[in-house]
C-alpha cells in the first residue's frame, strides 16, 4: 500500500472523516490507541483518537450475541424473504460500495445513500443544465477570489483555508492573495474567530437564488428595477458583480448539505448558471463542497456500474432511477421497503431511521440505534481498521486508505461477502 509504517508511525495517511480527505497526516499507533502527530485538524484528531480498540464488537441477532456466520445467516434469511429491500446509509469505501451494488442487484433492492437529500440538490442541476467546476489543487494555485454561499467551511472542512486559500506560495508566484466574500445572514462564529479577512454580504440563505439571478442580470448588463434584492441594496450586488468579473480565477463554493430548504436545487442552479456566464470573459468555477460518509464514493461506484447513483431500484431486473419515489424516507414511510439494510462505517452517530421495518445494520461498534435492529454486525472503519479507497470532494481523486492497527472488525465488503455466501446455501 502507499504510505509507510515505520516503528508504529504511519505517514501520508488519508483521513476519511470529511470530504477533503487530506492525505498528509502522520498517525502513530500505540497498542491500538491512535494519535495524530502531524497535519490533522481537530476533527481528524477527535475521530482517530477516539478509536480505542473497540469493546463491544460482537454481532447481535435480536439483541443476543452471535458469530458473524450466524448474523450473516439471519441477514440472508431476512433478505430472502424481502420483496424490496432498501440498502441505505451506504457509508462505506469503494470495495464496500462495489459489494453492496452487487447484493442490491442480486436481491432486487433499492440503493439510497444517507446524504442523498443534500446530494440531490447538486445531482439535479448536473442532470438539468450542468456546471463548470474546479478541483482543490487548482483553487490552491489559482484562485484570487472565493465567494462562499453561506456555509461554515471552518467547521465542516477545517483545513480548507490552510490547504487552498491562505497558502502564499503557488506554482505562479509567492505572494498570492485570495479575497474572500461570504454571502449569508452572518459570518459563522468559527469563521469569525479563524482570523480570516472576510467581506460579508448579509443576505438570507433562502433567497440566494434571487441574489444569483440578480448577479446574472448585472453581469449581462441589464437594468434592474429593484433597488434591493434579497435584503441587500442593489449597489452591493453591482460591486460584487464587478469584483467577480475582475477576478482572474474566481471560485464560488457552497455545501449542498447547508441548503436545507425546499427547491434548493434552484439556488444551486442559479449559482452554476452565473459561473457559466462569467466564463464568457474570464475564468470562474464552482467548487461544490461535500463528501462525507462516503457519499461521493457510493455515488461514483453505482454510477459507473449501472448508470445511476442513489434512489435507484433494481427489483425489475433493470435499473430504475426515481429521485422522488426511491428515497429512504418515502420507502420506509409507505412500507414499500420491507427490509432495511443500514450501512454506516465511519460515524456511530449516523444511525438508521427509526422504523418498524426489519433492520440489518452494518455499523460502527458502540452504535446505539433507536431500537435494537434484527441483526447488528459491527464493522471496521475504512482507513483505520482496514485499507480501502475513498473519493475526495472534487470527485476526481480517489485516495488510498491505510490500515492503522490490528483489528478483528470485518470490512463492509467482507460482511456482504458473508451474507452472499449464506444466501447461496438455500
Amino acid at each position: 500500500m502507499p504510505g509507510s509504517h515505520i516503528s508504529g508511525e504511519f505517514r501520508n495517511v488519508s483521513c476519511p472523516f470529511c470530504g477533503l480527505v487530506c492525505d498528509d497526516l502522520v498517525v502513530a499507533d500505540d497498542a491500538g490507541r491512535l494519535k495524530v502527530r502531524a497535519n490533522g485538524c481537530g476533527m481528524a484528531a477527535g475521530a482517530f483518537e477516539r478509536e480505542t480498540p473497540p469493546k463491544a464488537s460482537q454481532p447481535r441477532i435480536g439483541g443476543r450475541p452471535g458469530t458473524l456466520a450466524e448474523a450473516a445467516g439471519e441477514a440472508a434469511r431476512l433478505l430472502r424473504g424481502a420483496r424490496q429491500p432498501l440498502f441505505a446509509g451506504l457509508a462505506t469505501d469503494v470495495a464496500g460500495a462495489r459489494a453492496v451494488g452487487r447484493l442490491a442487484d442480486c436481491r432486487g433492492g433499492v440503493l439510497d445513500h444517507m446524504n442523498s437529500p443534500a446530494g440531490m440538490r447538486n445531482a439535479l442541476v448536473v442532470q438539468d443544465t450542468g456546471w463548470i467546476t474546479t478541483t482543490l489543487s487548482e483553487v490552491r494555485n489559482r484562485a484570487d477570489l472565493l465567494v462562499i454561499a453561506d456555509t461554515d467551511i471552518v467547521t465542516r472542512f477545517p483545513r480548507f483555508f490552510e490547504r487552498c486559500i491562505t497558502n502564499q506560495e503557488t506554482l505562479f508566484g509567492e505572494n498570492r492573495r485570495c479575497e474572500i466574500i461570504f454571502l449569508g445572514p452572518e459570518l459563522p462564529e468559527e469563521m469569525t474567530i479563524s482570523g480570516l479577512t472576510v467581506k460579508v454580504v448579509p443576505c438570507d440563505t433562502r433567497r440566494l437564488h434571487e441574489a444569483f439571478g440578480a448577479l446574472r442580470a448585472l453581469v449581462a448588463g441589464r437594468q434592474l428595477q429593484a433597488t434591493v434584492v434579497a435584503g441587500v441594496p442593489l449597489r452591493e450586488w453591482q460591486e460584487l458583480a464587478d469584483r467577480m468579473q475582475a477576478a482572474r480565477y474566481g471560485v464560488v463554493t457552497w455545501a449542498a448539505a447547508d441548503f436545507d430548504f425546499p427547491h434548493a436545487e434552484l439556488a444551486v442552479q442559479a449559482i452554476c448558471e452565473l459561473v457559466k456566464d462569467l466564463n464568457r470573459a474570464t475564468r470562474f468555477s464552482c467548487l461544490p463542497l461535500g463528501g462525507s460518509e462516503g457519499d461521493l464514493t457510493a455515488d461514483s461506484v453505482q454510477l459507473w456500474q449501472t448508470g445511476y447513483g442513489s434512489r435507484t431500484a433494481y427489483g425489475s431486473g433493470r435499473p430504475a432511477y426515481d429521485p422522488y419515489h426511491f428515497s429512504t424516507a418515502q420507502l420506509l414511510q409507505s412500507g414499500e421497503a420491507d427490509v432495511l439494510v443500514w450501512i454506516s462505517s465511519f460515524n456511530e452517530a449516523r444511525t438508521p431511521p427509526s422504523c418498524p421495518t426489519p433492520t440489518i445494520v452494518l455499523g460502527r461498534p458502540g452504535m446505539i440505534c433507536a431500537r435494537e435492529p434484527e441483526v447488528f454486525i459491527p464493522v471496521g472503519t475504512p482507513g483505520v481498521d482496514h485499507a480501502g479507497h475513498l473519493f475526495r470532494m472534487d470527485r476526481v481523486v480517489a485516495l488510498p486508505l491505510q490500515r492503522l492497527r490490528e483489528s478483528s472488525l470485518p470490512s463492509v465488503a467482507a460482511v456482504i461477502g458473508a451474507i452472499e455466501q449464506a444466501l447461496q446455501v438455500a
Binding site: D23, R102, Q127, T135, S137, T306, G307, P319, Y321, P400
Partner: protein
C-alpha cells in the same frame, strides 16, 4: 482442455492468412499449433462457412475515468432509453452514449471485441479509470496516461530541463498509473485555458510558461521513443474542430521530427476553409500526409448521425463548443494542475451541413489512406458515436452501394463538398481484420493479441457470413476469450474478467524526490499517494492478471 475450431475461413493478417480454410486449436487459454495425432480433442466446434478472426481491439475508446462518469451523471435519459437487463450471467446496467461499465463490457464482447483501451487517463484520476475498467467485464484493457498540460512538465520545459529528466518523469508516470502509452491532448492548451486563453496554435507560446505546443509534442514523442515504449505518442492535436485546422495537423506530424506519432480522431482535425460556408474537407491532404509518412498513423474518429455525448480532455475546445450542446447542458472542469475535461451532449444531424460534411470527411480518410496498418477504426466513443455503431461503420466501408445511398441523404451542400461519391474502394475482410485486429495489437506492442498464430491469447471471434456486413459484425456466432466461450449468437454466456496491459519503463529514481517536493509544495495530494500499487490493481480488476509488456530502448 484441448479445443478444436474446425474448418472456418480464417483472416489472420499478422500471418498473411487471407480467408484460408484452417483449423485452430486452443489449449489452456491459448492458441497452440496443431497437436499430435494421438492427442484427444475435448471439444470441437464446426465452423464451416464461418469467418474467423482474432478478437477485435479498440485502441481508442472512452471507457474509464471521471469524465465518463460525469457523462453518466448528466444523462439519466440516455440510460432510461437503453436499459440492460440482469441475466443469469450478469448484473443489470444501462446506457447508450454513456453506458455503465457493465453494459460496456457486455456489448463490446457481444460485438466480438476482446480488448479496449482508454485513451485519456489523468494521472490523479488513474485509480478511478482502473476501477471503472476493472468493472468492465470480459474485455482486456489498458490506458494511455495524459501529459502535456500538467504544470510539472510545463515547468520543466520552461526551465529548459534535460530530455533525460523528462524521460524519467514520463516513465515514472507510466509506472505509477499502470498505463501502456502516453497521450497528449491539445498540448499546453488545457493549461492555457486556465489562464483564460481560448485558443493555442501549434507555434503560439503558452501565456505563462512560454513554451509552444510544438515543443511539447517534440519532447513527449522523444521521451516515448527513447524509453522504448512501443505505442507512439498518442496525439489529440491543437485546434480541434476549427475550420482550417488541417494545417495544424500537418505541422503536428512534423513536430515529432521523424519519430513515431499517432494522431487520434483525425477526422476532427481535417477541416479546410473553402466554399461559401468556409468549412470544407481536407481529407485528401491529410490522407496524403499519412500515406507518405513513415512515422505517422491515425485513427479516424468517425461521426455517425444520432444522439451521443462528447466527453473529452480538451476543456478548451469543449467550452468553445458548449453552445452547441444538445440537450442544452454541459460540464467543464479544470483538474488538479494536471489536466481538464469537458462533457457536452451532442446530436449529429445529416441535415446539418457541418455534421454531414464531418461524416463524409471521416469516410474519405478511411478510403483514401492506402495502408490499413496505418489507419484505425474508431468513433472516439462516445464523441463521434457510441461504439455499438461499429458494425454500421464497417458496412459503410465495405459496401459502396450502401455508402452512396447514405450519402444521397445528407445535406445537399455537403454532398457537393465531398469526393466521397466518386471513391470506389470497398474494404475487404482482410483489410477490416488488419484495421481492427492485427494493426492495433502491433501499434500497442502486444504480441499475444490480434492474431491467431500459436502463442496468441485464445481471443477469437466467429461470424456467420452475411451480405449485410452490419448484421454480420453486429452479432458474432461465437466469441472466445482466453479460450473460453463467452458469447454465443450475440449474447453473453460466461462472465470473466479480462486482464490489464501496461508498460513499465525504467527511470532514475532521482525524479521521485523532485516529484515529492513538487506535490508537497503545490498539490493537494502526496506524490506517494498518486502512485497505484500492484495489489490495488489486482483488487480493482477482480483478481485479473496484469501484463507488463517490454520496452525496447533504441540503441543510443
Amino acid at each position: 482442455m484441448l479445443l478444436k475450431l474446425k474448418g472456418g475461413r480464417v483472416y489472420d493478417p499478422a500471418h498473411g492468412i487471407d480467408g484460408e480454410v484452417r483449423d485452430i486449436y486452443l489449449r489452456d487459454g491459448r492458441i497452440v499449433a496443431r497437436p499430435a495425432p494421438g492427442d484427444r480433442i475435448d471439444r470441437e466446434y464446426d465452423l464451416s462457412g464461418r469467418i474467423v478472426m482474432a478478437g477485435a481491439i479498440d485502441m481508442h475508446t472512452h471507457i474509464g475515468g471521471g469524465k465518463m462518469n460525469i457523462a453518466r451523471a448528466m444523462l439519466p435519459e440516455d440510460h432510461r432509453g437503453d436499459p440492460v437487463a440482469r441475466t443469469d450471467v450478469g448484473r443489470c446496467s444501462s446506457g447508450h452514449a454513456a453506458p455503465g461499465t457493465l453494459a460496456t463490457g457486455y456489448r463490446y464482447a457481444e460485438m466480438g471485441y476482446t480488448a479496449c483501451f482508454e485513451p485519456a487517463i489523468l494521472p490523479v484520476n488513474a485509480r478511478q479509470a482502473h476501477l471503472e475498467m476493472g468493472d468492465t467485464p470480459i474485455v482486456d484493457k489498458g490506458g494511455y496516461v495524459m501529459l502535456g498540460s500538467d504544470d510539472f512538465l510545463l515547468r520543466m520545459l520552461a526551465a529548459g530541463e534535460d530530455q533525460s529528466l523528462i524521460n524519467d518523469y514520463v516513465a515514472w508516470t507510466l509506472q505509477a498509473t499502470h498505463c501502456i502509452g502516453i497521450k497528449v491532448v491539445n498540448p499546453g492548451g488545457i493549461s492555457a485555458f486556465k489562464f483564460n486563453q481560448r485558443k493555442l496554435d501549434l507555434d503560439e507560446r503558452h501565456p505563462f510558461y512560454g513554451v509552444t505546443p510544438r515543443d511539447i509534442v517534440r519532447v513527449l514523442s522523444r521521451a516515448v521513443y527513447e524509453l522504448g515504449v512501443p505505442h507512439p505518442l498518442h496525439v489529440h492535436g491543437s485546434n480541434l474542430g476549427m475550420p482550417g485546422n488541417f494545417e495544424t495537423t500537418l505541422e503536428t506530424i512534423r513536430a515529432a521530427e521523424g519519430l513515431p506519432i499517432h494522431l487520434t480522431h483525425i477526422q476532427f482535425h481535417s477541416y479546410g476553409t473553402e466554399g461559401d460556408r468556409k468549412f470544407s474537407s481536407a481529407a485528401t491532404r491529410i490522407s496524403e500526409a499519412i500515406n507518405h509518412s513513415f512515422n505517422a498513423s491515425c485513427d479516424v474518429g468517425q461521426i455517425l448521425f444520432g444522439q451521443t455525448v462528447t466527453a473529452s480532455g480538451d476543456s478548451m475546445a469543449q467550452h468553445r463548443n458548449a453552445g452547441h450542446a444538445h440537450p442544452r447542458k454541459y460540464v467543464v472542469m479544470d483538474i488538479e494542475c494536471d489536466a481538464g475535461c469537458g462533457v457536452v451532449p451532442f446530436r449529429y444531424r445529416d441535415r446539418n451541413f457541418v455534421n454531414a460534411l464531418q461524416w463524409a470527411i471521416g469516410l474519405e480518410i478511411f478510403l483514401l489512406v492506402d495502408d490499413p496498418w496505418k489507419v484505425f477504426l474508431t468513433t472516439d466513443h462516445p464523441n463521434g458515436a457510441p461504439f455499438t455503431s461499429y458494425p454500421h461503420l464497417i458496412r459503410l466501408l465495405m459496401d459502396r452501394t450502401f455508402r452512396n445511398e447514405r450519402l444521397a441523404q445528407i445535406h445537399p451542400d455537403a454532398q457537393a463538398m465531398t469526393t466521397l461519391g466518386s471513391i470506389e474502394r470497398e474494404y475487404s475482410l482482410y483489410e477490416i481484420a488488419i484495421m481492427t485486429r492485427a494493426a492495433p495489437a502491433r501499434i500497442l506492442g502486444i504480441e499475444s493479441l490480434g492474431h491467431l498464430g500459436p502463442g496468441a491469447a485464445g481471443d477469437i471471434t466467429v461470424y456467420r457470413e452475411a451480405a449485410d456486413r452490419e448484421k454480420m459484425f453486429a452479432a458474432p456466432e461465437y466469441v472466445f476469450k482466453d479460450g473460453e466461450l463467452v458469447v454465443r449468437d450475440g449474447r453473453i454466456v460466461t462472465l470473466i474478467w479480462g486482464r490489464v496491459h501496461a508498460v513499465a519503463p525504467e527511470y532514475d529514481r532521482g525524479i521521485e524526490r523532485r516529484l515529492r517536493n513538487h506535490f508537497e509544495r503545490f498539490q493537494t495530494i502526496r506524490a506517494e499517494n498518486l502512485r497505484i500499487g500492484s495489489e490495488e490493481m489486482i483488487a480493482f480488476g477482480h483478481g485479473a492478471e496484469m501484463v507488463t509488456h517490454p520496452c525496447r530502448r533504441p540503441p543510443s
